[in-house]
Amino acid sequence: MPTDKVLSFVASRRLQLAALSAVVALCLLAASVLINAVFEKLDRYSTASQDGVYWTMSQIEVDQLKLIVELERMKVAQNPDFAQLRQRFDLFYSRVMTLRNAAVYRSILDGTDVAADVQAIFTRLDEMVVMIDGDDQSLLGSRDRILSLVTSMTTPIRDIAIAGISVGAARADGERNVLTQQIITLTVLTIMMLSALFLALLLVWRLYEDSQRQAEQSRNTTNRLTTILNTSQDGILVVGPSGEVQDTNGAADRMFALPQADKSSVPISNFLFRTDPDGGLTPLTGRRLLAECEQGSKRFDDLVVRSLDGREFPAEISADIARRGEMSVCICFVRDLSERLAAEAEIVSARDRALSGERAKARFLGMISHEMRTPLHGILGALDLLHDTGLTSEQERYAKVMKSSGQMLLTQISDALDMTQVGAGKMVLRRDVFDLDGMLQELVENQQALARAQNNKLELLIAKDGLGRVEGDRGRIYQVLLNVVSNAIKYTQNGQITIEAARAASSPDVDPIVEFQISDTGVGISEENLARVFDDFVRVGSSDANQPEGTGLGLGIARHLVTLMGGEIGAESLPGEGSLFWTRIPLPVKNRAPPAPRAETAPAVIAPLDVLVVEDNANNRLVIEAMLKNDGHRVTLACDGVEGVAFAAETLYDLILMDINMPRMDGIEATRRIRADNGASSSTRIVALTAHFSSDKATELRAAGMDAVETKPLRRATLRDILAGIATTMQAHNPSIVVDNSMLSQLGTSLSMASIIGLLDRFQAEGTQIIADLDTLHAMPPEVLADRLHGFSGSAATTGAVALQAILEQAETALRQGDKDTAAHLLKELPKIWTDTMAHLSARHRAA
């Protein structure tokens, strides 16, 4: 225990009192023992153990002298009185015998030097007794002898008397001393006891003062509490077990309009009610209140107060039980909730207004973006077409400017749209399997020109084996990386931008994360700004004129997208040295096989197709029509859903491109009708064109019968992909189109006839070999077979043997996916298609 604690403990009144009480008790005990001793002593004085000692001692001498006188008288008497003599002797004898028998004399005389004297007296007495008890005559004869014996006793008797006196005096002194000592001790003890009692009294007095002070303090506290309670805005009630109001504060009196006098006559059930689940009111009884509070303090906010003057308002009650002696009372704090509820309602409505405003803004932004994309569709599409119309170099330059500006505008609109979607939580990912290496390559190629413009070197570093085919949203990953890379290019001049991509873990099965790092040697980002670069709508850096343009949405969207994909993104930078942006995105491997280089699908490979375009915007119609017709397709145009449905019912089209938002009948309804009508094109592939892609929309469109959804503006490359898909499928299922003659025609424009013949001969030789080897091919490992088929399909593409190419590609895909049965099934068709193809080619060749 620490010293100050000990001190304070010692200083505590209680301990002092206890110590003093102990002292008093000890003194009392000692005093009682002593008093007992003194009383015993007094008792001994009151019961004397001895007779008159000195009397007896002196009487021995008297009796001796009387005996001597009697003996002397006998000497002269004529007629001696023997009886008298004997009596004298007997008296003397009995006196002396007292010395022998009485305990007190024995104790006085034993051990002293007079013990011998006593013994001598007894011896002489014994001798005398014989003579005294003899007859008178012999007594007379021995008179002288007796006399001499008695006389000889004089000295011993005196010695005894003197010894008795001194022993008695010493004894008396001793006893007096002991008694005095005891009385002194008793007095001291009494003084001590009195002192202790006095101290105790003092202490009790101080305790009394302490308790007075405490009482004063508690009175003050009570007064303060009373003031607090009376100034409280909450109504405070003290409620008895039967619900009577025992006490209140001023606020409660006003709140419930209680009468000034006789408050206890009003039970709380007269003015407190609880709201039932069905909205009714149940009076709150005292018993119910106390029962509720039995388990500790309780709070209800479903209270309704009906004050005695008729006011009604919602209230909250906090209640707890307090014990007043035997009786329990309930202390209740009642709070008028009407103001709070009003304020809450106000806040809720303000929030609702703000939210609905926010929603309207987002809707507006989305719509505006959408509306801007539609005309952009026209502009960009027309620019694509313009490019093919043989422009002068000056015109070409202007068209290029227009195209890049339009592209930039489109990007920014897309960003804004993405932002609204992210904000609304509507962003969806389109997961698919794609070639990650190819995508990175494409990114670098696309950005190379921009990089060169800033005199930057752009480099891609990936592992030798590549990252392979992965599952993820190709478009979004591309967008994220593009954002970061284009930023790096923008903020770097005469520098180096490096894109690195690698798997985080050695085995992608353990951890599918792919880490991308984009580093540059640009201006860098200050530490302060680094923390904000991924925030929405933030453009870091000074606002001077040299800053590259942009909305500042790019990195914010990148962060949202990466988060959505389950990844993370971050940046490090040294101002002046450069920046490093990294992002880690889970991209599971789907096919470990390294993708074989694909033969470029030339536009002319596709056989002419019948396409129905349903689009209300005349410009867009014009652009799409031109794109299709330029590639040699037959186009039918419809201005709205109604027309589209009519055409589709009459004619069998290979493809229907369907706009969504149209007057009279929208694309969804039109699609539904086409599918339901069982018309000529009821099973034709329908691709929806929308300016605004969302997962909800896509689901709705697919439900209506759409086969695919493409976003506007529709670019020529996209359109060609769609058409190629149709052609491949058709050719695989429609062997009537075995060879695309346009391919050979095109070849004819660039190659000499001899070269074409050589090419065809090599194709024939390769095909013949494959067909011949067909039976043994099945025994080859699937990978090797796939590569062989791949090479052959490349040759087929070159010669325009579309049917052959299609079946080879399908077989290759099946093999790569490990589906050997399908591959074998497809390859069974191979000899027949080969025969057909060769027949077509030789006919053509002959014709040429």
Binding site: A48, Q50, D51, Q59, D90, L91, S94, M97, N101, A103
Partner: protein, 169 residues
């Protein structure tokens, strides 16, 4: 007190007869061992009552088993209570003066006499006491029975070799 007066009255009636009888015996048989002097009611002259050992033995006796400060060991004393004796003879007195053969004398207030103390012992351990053994009569209290009897006053009143008694009014 009334009882005592009544007894005194009764004793006065019989007094003559008893005195005659005592004198008759005293002369013939036993020696007188106690003489009581009682002043006459009429003229104040002393009137003598002489008693022998037999006279005393004829009165109601009492025995103490007690130690004394003058003897060693417990003793058994038998005698007649003093109060019984004076009531027997109708003696009215304030004090009694008792004297021994050796002329030792004490004064005993009658008011302090009780029914059973003191006694005038005539027998010690079943035997009469001789003059040599502090006899023949010894006024004794039952010292062991009551601490009040172990005081100097009581010890001084315990007169031995008693032979005379005088009633004082």
């Amino acid at each position: 007190m009334k009882m005592r007066l009544f007894l005194s009255g009764l004793a006065a009636v019989c007094i003559g007869l008893i005195a005659v009888q005592n004198f008759a015996f005293a002369g013939e048989k036993s020696p007188v061992i106690l003489t009581i002097s009682v002043p006459q009611a009429q003229d104040g002259d002393p009137h003598q009552i002489t008693l022998s050992e037999q006279d005393l033995r004829a009165l109601p006796a009492m025995t103490y088993q007690t130690t004394t400060i003058w003897t060693s060991g417990e003793q058994r004393f038998t005698g007649v209570p003093l109060l019984v004796l004076i009531e027997h003879f109708g003696i009215e007195a304030k004090d009694l003066e008792l004297k021994a053969v050796n002329d030792y004398a004490i004064t005993l207030p009658v008011a302090e006499l009780t029914e059973d103390a003191p006694i005038i012992a005539y027998e010690r351990n079943g035997k009469p006491m001789k003059l040599r053994d502090n006899g023949p009569l010894w006024v004794l209290y039952n010292y062991d029975a009551n601490p009040d009897y172990r005081t100097e006053t009581i010890y001084s009143r315990s007169i031995w070799q008693l032979d005379r008694m005088t009633a004082v009014r």
